[in-house]
């Protein structure tokens, strides 16, 4: 089963450049249906106003961190089933444990290649379809 390349993906990162980098990597994997938010709070607004199929979120952000966004998504009946890929420069054990406890779908540590990012997306989508 191949992953639907029309998946609407929400990229959440406070660095505009990093959003561009992720968008560029997703493009290489054939994903072009992308929306962006600069922090967790802006992401929640988008999630409440339009359908999104997949969330890729940075961990460290002002206003609302990636972990807080993840908790908010998992605590919302309408959003809780959304696939959530956490992106971070923090590969420290405590962070991984906290993200897993909060219900993250998968975890990707910067730096990463387009192949790794797209593999993670496929893995998550396939595990949900199984």
């Amino acid at each position: 089963m191949s992953v639907d390349k029309n998946l609407k993906i929400l990229i959440v990162d406070d660095f505009a450049t990093m959003r561009k980098v992720i968008r560029n990597l997703l493009k290489q994997g054939g994903f072009e249906n992308i929306v962006e938010a600069e922090d967790g709070a802006a992401a929640l607004k988008i999630l409440k106003s339009q359908p999104v199929d997949f969330i890729i979120s940075d961990w460290n952000m002002p206003n609302m961190s990636g972990l807080e966004l993840l908790k908010a998504v998992r605590g919302d009946d309408e959003l809780k089933a959304l696939p959530f890929l956490m992106v971070t420069a923090e590969a420290l054990k405590d962070n991984v444990v906290a993200a897993v406890k909060a219900g993250v779908s998968n975890y990707i540590v910067k730096p990463f290649t387009a192949e790794v990012l797209n593999e993670k997306i496929e893995k998550i989508v396939k595990s949900l379809a199984a």
Partner: protein, 158 residues
């Protein structure tokens, strides 16, 4: 400065630039820097606390960072604009993350602050501990950059 801290930052730098920007930098011989003058045109600086205290700076020549960020974004950038400043902060963050991951395996748990970026010819780098710092020089086909580390107060480790 504890020499065990040099390799994780060296390895982290190579890993980040190779993976995100397809640039393979060649490291030169580290040396001691006693002044605060940056060795590049734009620098990202990040504070570190925990099992050690100090700061890490990455200082890039203009030609070098233009190529790195152009590769990262998949579009050619010709001037030191906001995208470049943003990217320098993010690269500094990623190098610090990769290095701290390696340091964690050596028994050092270190946390990092939010990076800041300074640009301009002859700008200075204010290390948290004041200095002196260790410079690891790197060469790329598009020009040089340096990793500038000043760490002290080390506790823990294996």
């Amino acid at each position: 400065m504890d020499v065990r801290f040099i390799n994780p930052f060296l390895n982290g730098t190579v890993q980040v630039l190779k993976t995100m920007a397809f640039v393979e930098p060649k490291a030169g011989k580290p040396f001691l820097k006693k002044d605060s003058l940056a060795r590049g045109d734009i620098s990202g600086i990040i504070g570190l606390t925990g099992a050690a205290r100090g700061s890490l700076a990455l200082s890039f020549s203009e030609s070098c960072i233009l190529k790195i960020v152009s590769n990262m974004l998949g579009e050619e950038i010709k001037t030191l604009n906001g995208d470049i400043k943003d990217a320098v902060g993010e690269i500094t963050n990623m190098v610090s993350g990769a290095a701290r991951k390696e340091l964690e395996t050596l028994g050092f748990n270190i946390t990092a602050a939010i990076p800041t970026v300074v640009a301009g010819k002859d700008h200075s780098i204010s290390h948290v501990l004041g200095g002196p710092s260790i410079i690891i020089p790197f060469e790329t086909p598009q020009g040089p950059f340096v990793v500038d580390i000043c760490i002290g107060g080390v506790s823990g480790g294996q």
